[in-house]
């Protein structure tokens, strides 16, 4: 472990590993500095200019791009900083579509955090009010909506797609006041190279990228994605006996806190109406509902008519280790056969 660096932020002594930015060091120590474009998973870019701080002996600087140095003395709130920050924020939100009650990001929104800190009021907004952008919603993707009227142009989605997912499907387009995030050719995202992984949706700090089915879970449980062999960690949310959400386990050793479209948006099968809900027994050529007692005794009776050599068990690579162990024990011990295999030996 390298030696920690000691600095002072607003009179508080803070220790941080070399290479940590002032912003991260402050946040970890519980000192809030407004910020929008910084994200712990991404390289800092310093575009929102809300995280300005004063370092004694230097000009004001963005704290998200400045690494800590031994003996640094940092101030996060001075009259000059407050003024600049307010101007920067006003520019950013002049045409923001504030409609918090009906916004999926409400109460977890980074812009609300900043607005509250800066103390922007309704009258400020009225004074600032530029004509709303009135960008049409892009709801072409089956899993998430893009509402560019709420976008703060932090670029987190752009960097996420380039640095985390790795394809770079979206980018800044146009200039000046018309700047916005779009896919190549500015069409609907469903017609782009986007693979719907939702990594950008998970990181957007505001309500510009939100999941379509945004039911709040009443509780969450950490488990493992049931689809492919990556074994990504997922945190599944449920309410009323239904699965309503899924998100990545941050810092998971196998997935590093990422997911693909299946782990994030593909769990709908669990509550699909077609799920089998009772045992079925073939009677008169048709499969009809039966009780567990009937089904179990019928299967047991029929299987016991045969010798091990006449029986086979085909197992599943989707079941748990425990399910599988019991199954091969059953095959080998009770049915007396080594005729057991699974379809995906790959």
């Amino acid at each position: 472990m390298p030696d920690l660096i000691t600095l002072t932020i607003d009179g508080v002594e803070v220790k941080a590993a070399p290479g940590t930015t002032i912003l991260r060091a402050a946040l970890e120590r519980g000192i809030y500095i407004p910020h929008l474009c910084d994200h712990p998973d991404l390289e800092p870019v310093g575009v929102c200019r809300l995280c300005l701080v004063e370092i004694e002996g230097r000009r004001p600087t963005v704290s998200c791009k400045t690494p800590v140095e031994e003996g640094m003395v940092v101030h996060t709130s001075t009259p000059d900083l407050e003024r600049t920050r307010r101007v920067n924020l006003e520019l950013l939100v002049a045409s923001h579509d504030y409609n918090c009650q009906f916004c999926a990001r409400n109460t977890r929104c980074k812009l609300q955090e900043v607005t509250r800190y800066v103390g922007l009021q309704q009258e400020d907004m009225d004074r600032l009010r530029k004509p709303p952008l009135d960008q049409p919603l892009d709801d072409s993707n089956p899993f998430f909506v893009r509402n560019m009227n709420k976008c703060v142009l932090c670029g987190i989605c752009v960097r996420t797609c380039a640095e985390i997912q790795g394809d770079g499907c979206i980018d800044f387009a146009y200039r000046g006041i018309r700047t916005k995030i779009s896919v190549m050719g500015d069409g609907p995202i469903a017609e782009s190279t986007c693979v719907s992984c939702g990594e950008c949706v998970a990181r957007c700090p505001v309500g510009a990228l939100v999941p379509k089915k945004a039911e709040e879970p009443s509780y969450e449980v950490e488990t493992v994605c049931p689809f492919c062999g990556c074994g990504c960690g997922i945190i599944v949310g449920a309410r009323g006996g239904r699965i309503v959400s899924s998100r990545a386990v941050p810092g998971h050793p196998a997935s590093g806190g990422s997911l693909c479209v299946k782990g994030r948006f593909g769990l709908g099968f669990v509550n699909h109406p077609d799920r089998l809900k009772t045992p079925l027994i073939r009677r008169g050529g048709k499969l009809v509902e039966a009780s567990w007692e009937e089904a179990v005794s019928l299967v047991a009776e029929r299987l016991s008519r045969y010798s091990g050599a006449q029986l086979a068990v085909i197992a599943s690579a989707k079941c748990t280790v425990e399910d599988n162990y019991v199954l091969q024990k059953f095959a080998r011990a009770v049915l007396g056969t080594n005729n057991i295999d699974h379809c995906a030996r790959l």
């Binding site: 089956p142 985390i164 790795g166 394809d167 719907s196 449980v221 990556c230 074994g231 960690g233 599944v236 006996g241 050793p253 196998a254 590093g256 693909c260 299946k262 948006f265 709908g268 099968f269 669990v270 699909h272 799920r275 089998l276 009772t278 039966a290 567990w292 179990v296 299967v299 029929r302 299987l303 016991s304 008519r305 006449q310 029986l311 086979a312 197992a315 599943s316 690579a317 989707k318 079941c319 748990t320 280790v321 399910d323 599988n324 162990y325 019991v326 199954l327 024990k329 059953f330 080998r332 011990a333 049915l335 056969t337 080594n338 005729n339 057991i340 295999d341 699974h342 030996r345 790959l346």
Partner: protein, 541 residues
Amino acid sequence: MAGLATALGSGAMTNTIAEIAGASCILAVGTSTTAGHPVIGYRVKEAVRKGARLIVVNPKEVDLCRHADLHLPLLPGSDLALLMGMARVILEEGLQDQEYIDRRCENFEAFKKSLKAFSPEFVARTTGLPWEKIAQAARIYATSKPATILYCMGITQHSHGTDNVLAISNLALLTGNLGRVSGGVNPLRGQNNVQGACDMGLLPNVFTGYQRVEDPAVREKFQRAWGYPLKGTPGLTHTEIFDAAHGGKIKAIYLVGENPLLTEANAGHVREALERLEFFVVQDIFLNETAALADVVLPAASFAEKEGTFVNTERRVQRVRQVIEPVGESRPDWWITCALAREMGGRGFDFQSPEEIFREITALTPSFAGLSYRRLERGGIQWPCPTADHPGTPILHREKFATPSGKGKLVPLSYRPPAETPDGRYPLVLTTERSIFHYHSTMTRHSPGLDDLRGEEELCLSPEDARRLGIVDGDLVEVVSRRGRVEVKARVTRACRPGVVSMSFHFAECPTNTLTSPARDPVAKIPETKVCAVRVSKISR
């Protein structure tokens, strides 16, 4: 994973997923990683961003090629020739790690001799690639260290898949890439718990932890633990099971959580086999195409409705936790199997919880011996984990190999052409692939949204073949093989090389596997769903 077990003594991924990001070279053979294993794809792209060289060996220009330095679009089924050709270049140009070979490998001379058959002319003709391109790949792989090899379906799903895997381990041994960080040979397991299913002995020849049924000492141990006499001869593999059912030798099958009518090569044969059974019981979460043929269907709980563990492709044993109550009357698979066992008078099936089952597993399985639910609480542990204070094993073969001699075995190999090659009547080669949006059908197809993204099967073919056959994008075409026929929409794309067409196998409406070939790898017995000869023609309406 018979191949890796021969050479290295273990058939699993040798390194971790996270390490891929640190490789200097990634050789991706027969894997369309960004589609099949998207999050592993993220690590591959991260490595490339950091400067790694990526070589993609795949008949089709898969998505991964966008990030590659070199794409080798070989003729389907010629992987072995290409890999042996690379080994030849490495030795001819002295790029091997001789010190490593001398210290850690055996059989070098015999292996070297077997390379004679792989002359540049032969390799170029067999693979359909210029020799210089193969040489270039070999140089990049051998000189950028650490180098990792990723492979999956594409390479194992051939009638000579086992040899392909050996050819891969040969390359890694020659260059000293085994047992080092960010190196290794890494089979990417398809479904979530394929690794765990293998680890648990859902194979005809081994108990848990690859303990062989033929080994009397192993058998004795399990007999004592279970209180039953156990058979010492390996059973039938799944393709042999369907054959035996077809031939009337197997009379009853208990099938859990699979849909072979959709996923097996030569699905028509499988259907006939299942229809001939006297008794067929299926346990699943949906009434899929295969379950519809059953005499009894038992409703299983989904992953979200039970406790347990999965083992991912990097051997990480992880806790699966119950989120909601089982839907309807469905029950966890272990509960159902235990109920059947008890009804048949079975002893030792009174488990009250998956944790109790896990304790029995760890008591009988050396590579799991040190694991417990408590230890798996956070992030999981990679086996082998022999004792309760062992941290698990992220990288295999660090000091020695798991073979009897402790050495890595270089295996001489010879080339065998694919079981089915194109001819006048079936002039095109069909290969199967997967889409990022689906995984073996039943679950993904019942997830609203995923189906919208790619709702329909397509036949991809090259513009050259399309022109010759008078087909344009979107035409309905028929695809006919020696075994079956399907109708499908055509997609004309440069991603296919002339002579090669591709389809996926996720859709019940268009079961691709009624077309594919039943020829099998003689050792691993994996059916050849990757290569089969077909003809394609436009359907006029």
